[in-house]
Symmetry: C2
Subunit: 223 residues, 2 copies
């Protein structure tokens, strides 16, 4: 089974996570590699979103993926089988988030030279990952329609630290009681600059706005 590396990332003992995150971000900037930290609840559609995003952009930019999970590797298999880009699996051994040093360990094992965009698919959790700067160029979260439009009220820090909120599964809006406008207002109350993009990773509806935004961010990072 040499399809991709599986790395055990250990919890760091470092108190100065913010400083370490800034250092990693600076190094990535010098290498012109855009690191996207993708966060969400379990089951909100991170992997499906990634597959569509990679396949839309992989002819324009060079992409690699770090799949973080407590255990298992089904998402890494999915990404590899459906996109063919370089993937590594990070196992956190029970840890509920990634910090800057764990991310650095992933980046070093992946080998990022020559890549334009590296995505860290973080642990499915709306609480702890929000507390740790990973060193990413940008934080992006997915909120899915079935989870409810009240989530910004309950998990405010996650919405505060994210540059972009992707509202996924809009193909199920008729089945669930979810008000996109009200949700967007709640997000902007916490984080006025947050970009909110509703789409369906299942049908592809609305995703062009996200692909265009991301491509521009990756290009801007190289300047």
């Amino acid at each position: 089974m040499d399809k991709y590396k599986i790395i055990e990332v250990k919890q760091s003992v470092f108190k100065n996570n913010n400083e370490r995150a800034d250092n990693l971000r600076k190094e990535l900037k010098e290498k012109k590699v855009f690191l996207l930290n993708l966060m969400s609840s379990p089951g909100s559609g991170k992997t499906t979103t990634l597959v569509r995003t990679i396949n839309a952009l992989k002819d324009k930019i060079k992409i690699a993926i770090m799949e973080a999970d407590i255990d298992g590797q089904c998402d890494a298999d999915t990404i590899l089988n459906k996109t063919g880009v370089k993937v590594i699996q990070l196992h956190t051994g029970g840890m509920c988030h990634l910090d800057a040093e764990m991310t650095r360990s992933g980046v070093e094992n992946l080998g990022i030279d020559g890549f334009d965009l590296v995505v860290l698919e973080n642990i499915g959790n709306l609480v702890c990952p929000a507390e740790f700067d990973t060193g990413a160029s940008e934080n992006v979260m997915i909120l899915s329609v079935p989870e409810g439009d009240d989530k910004p009220l309950k998990y405010p820090l996650m919405f505060e630290v994210c540059d972009v909120v992707l509202i996924n599964k809009i193909d199920t809006l008729s089945v669930f009681d979810f008000n996109i406008e009200e949700c967007t207002n709640r997000i902007h109350k916490l984080n006025p600059k947050a970009k909110v993009i509703p789409f369906s990773a299942k049908t592809g509806e609305g995703m062009d706005a996200w692909f265009e935004y991301l491509l521009n961010q990756v290009k801007d990072w190289k300047k």
Copy 2:
């Protein structure tokens, strides 16, 4: 605003959480109070499930609710408005889980004498709450159909520590790719004794089995 108490529960510094949890469980057993620790991802339907459950059982047993949230109090309002039972709101100040001492603080603020069933609605998180014994008589989790049937593979500890897995939102089975049988097999591989009950807290379909099971558990606890 004196509808219900809002308690700030602080992170404990105690290393011996398991011992403290056992002590709390013993005291609750002596007082014949069944404490249910309800866990799930954000947005899987804990509060909707609770409202239906309370309204089905409140004429048979005396019920009180402890709503734990990082911030906000919308679920406590919902429970109070829709059921009228005693509710308190626990705020964890950013913490991603409750431990035995935080639960004890809630129990003491609630005042449990005379109650048959107290439900702790834990923080929406499939990772950290699984690691801390709260002192509850039973751990119950909700997995909702939109989250996907692969969750036991990715968050195994949560499925290992729960006595019951409630599969919610079965009214949306036609919209999502979720195989109940396969999911149940994955759960039983981790936890052969786990009771799996599929239902829809929105329509009420399948909930009678859960009400009956819970009522029996509460009665058995008093023996």
